[in-house]
Amino acid sequence: MESISPFYSLTPEVRYSPPWQNLSIIGIAGSSGSGKTSVAMEIVKSLNLPWVVILVMDSFYKSLSPEEHRKAHANEYDFDCPASIDFDLLHQRQPQTTTLYSPRVLILEGILALHDPRIVEMLDVKFCGMSVKEGGTLRGSSNSGLTMSSHHTIDMSSPNDLFLHIQRKLQEKSEQHTEELRKLGFLAAEVELPPNVHVMPSTPQFLGMNTILQNPATEHVEFYLGLLPKGTVSAVAILRGGSCLETALKRTITDCITGRVLIQTNEHNEEPELHYLKLPAKLEEHATVMLLDPQMSSGGAALMAVRVLMDHGVDENKIVFVTCAAGARGLKRLTAVFPKIKVVVGRIEEEGEPRWMERRYFGC
């Protein structure tokens, strides 16, 4: 697991941490065959999120010596004994790491998941000593002799309590994230639009096109944008809306390398969520990476998308955020956090204008 070091912009107090920086870790312990794996799977199912990763601690068993191998075959080696798990390995990072980008929930599952206090320290939810009743329902018995901070033990008379508890935890974190976005908005509200925000000049042509765009009677929507190529210019569409700009992109750069990132705003708490990510290889070597989003209001998705690009090695000053319409507050927030990006915006819209462009473009 690669953890991402927090990024600080030039203005030290204005920064944005994406939700996956605040990873939730759920530990599930219990004896062999007590149903840890099925509970882990149940949790994944109940959350129904793309950001859940299960880490099975059995993969961290120490390599056995020949003597231990013999015992294991003779069924004498106690795999459930804490000494058999390489807690140092689990605690530290392995030399060869597989990068998992942006998980928000990590389920740590294993016989002794709650044994090492260093790991217990990192957990948000701890759950242990489970067994399965004859009827197939789950019953909690938290006193199974494992190291465990008792104040976090949850009564597991039904797994639904566990799921609710986890959902509450995640909800808290979502609220923190949304609150942070809100604060960034206040910080930025006072500032003038910085010079790296380029608003399209209001030529009669451009005003005419905007009039057509905003006219509710307009059936078909088209976008045109001019671009300056210098080195490899690639684009990353923030889906779903970003693909509205791809036609214009392909008309200007017919073979533009295009990555895609699907960020959706959660309907319930307005929090932007990263669902899908497919970026071109060597993106960091490109001269310019355009981020395409037809409309930006609060800028939450934009902040997240810029952050995703920077996490993948793209220099801040190579990013050009392209949008047809944006709210001033969102723009200021974006440029306060990332002062070196360039922004090309067609029209400054009223605050709180809902996202309508992609809805009209796709007709749904």
Partner: protein
């Protein structure tokens, strides 16, 4: 429509107009036939074979790949639209004569299976100006290795529409099958789904055609088979990578 989708080699035949004798036509590999009434393979014309030759060539760069696959997509969309209902329509020409023609009837929408299917949206828009387009994101579930629905955004009235389902590569058909299930759950009757596809595997398309006998498949080519990694062979590699990022 006679041969069965067994491990027989893809047919090779002289490609060119009927009036030209076989000896004067170059030989090329053409699509396999399948004996399903609901699977329609585009006519294996010299144009289509030349376009497919371009996009199958591993030396073809992104710009050419986009250009030539867009042309095939256009052919697929045009053929797909032929399966939509039309009604008689009489018009008066500028010289005041009547012309008895037809007009399209019924509402349509496109649904692309992300990400490769999105490459087919523009071809559909070029033919149907303000067409509604929904999207479905299906990914392999790491735990079960089965295709899993991650995201969908579809027109609210999709149940009343003809749906053109877009996905260029049809290997095992896991994603397409799940996408059809999603559409059926939204109330779209099977007979109003048209699946537009560039290259299909013979086993995948046969299974799909049997599972959804009322749905129609329009494809440019039924290929030789699948390799051990479930890639279509000879195929063209990863369509999404070649179109968007390579």
């Amino acid at each position: 429509m006679a041969t069965k989708p067994e491990p027989i080699p893809s047919p090779a035949q002289g490609v060119g107009p009927i009036y030209r004798p076989d000896g004067e036509k170059p030989t090329a590999t053409v699509s396999r036939d399948v004996s399903y009434e609901n699977v329609h393979v585009l006519p294996q014309t010299p144009q289509l074979i030349a376009l497919l030759t371009m996009i199958r060539d591993k030396k073809t760069g992104r710009a050419d790949f986009i250009f030539y696959s867009n042309r095939i997509i256009r052919l697929l969309v045009e053929e797909g639209l032929n399966h939509l209902p039309v009604v008689e329509q009489s018009v008066t020409t500028p010289v005041d004569r009547a012309y008895l023609g037809v007009k399209f009837e019924g509402k349509i929408c496109g649904v692309s299976i992300m990400r490769a299917g999105e490459a087919m949206e523009q071809g559909l828009r070029d033919c149907c100006r303000s067409v509604r387009i929904g999207k479905i994101l299906i990914q392999r579930d790491e735990e079960t290795c089965m295709p899993k629905l991650f995201y969908e955004k579809l027109p609210a009235d999709i149940a009343e529409r003809w749906v053109l389902l877009l996905d260029p590569m049809f290997a095992t058909g896991g994603s397409a099958t799940l996408a059809v299930e999603v559409l059926k759950n939204k109330g779209v009757p099977e007979h109003r789904i048209l699946f537009l596809n560039l290259i299909a595997s013979p086993s995948g398309v046969a299974e799909f055609a049997e599972r959804f006998p009322k749905l129609r498949v329009v494809t440019a080519f039924i290929d030789q088979g699948l390799d051990e990694k479930k890639y279509i062979t000879p195929g063209l590699g990863d369509f999404g990578d070649r179109y968007y990022t390579l």
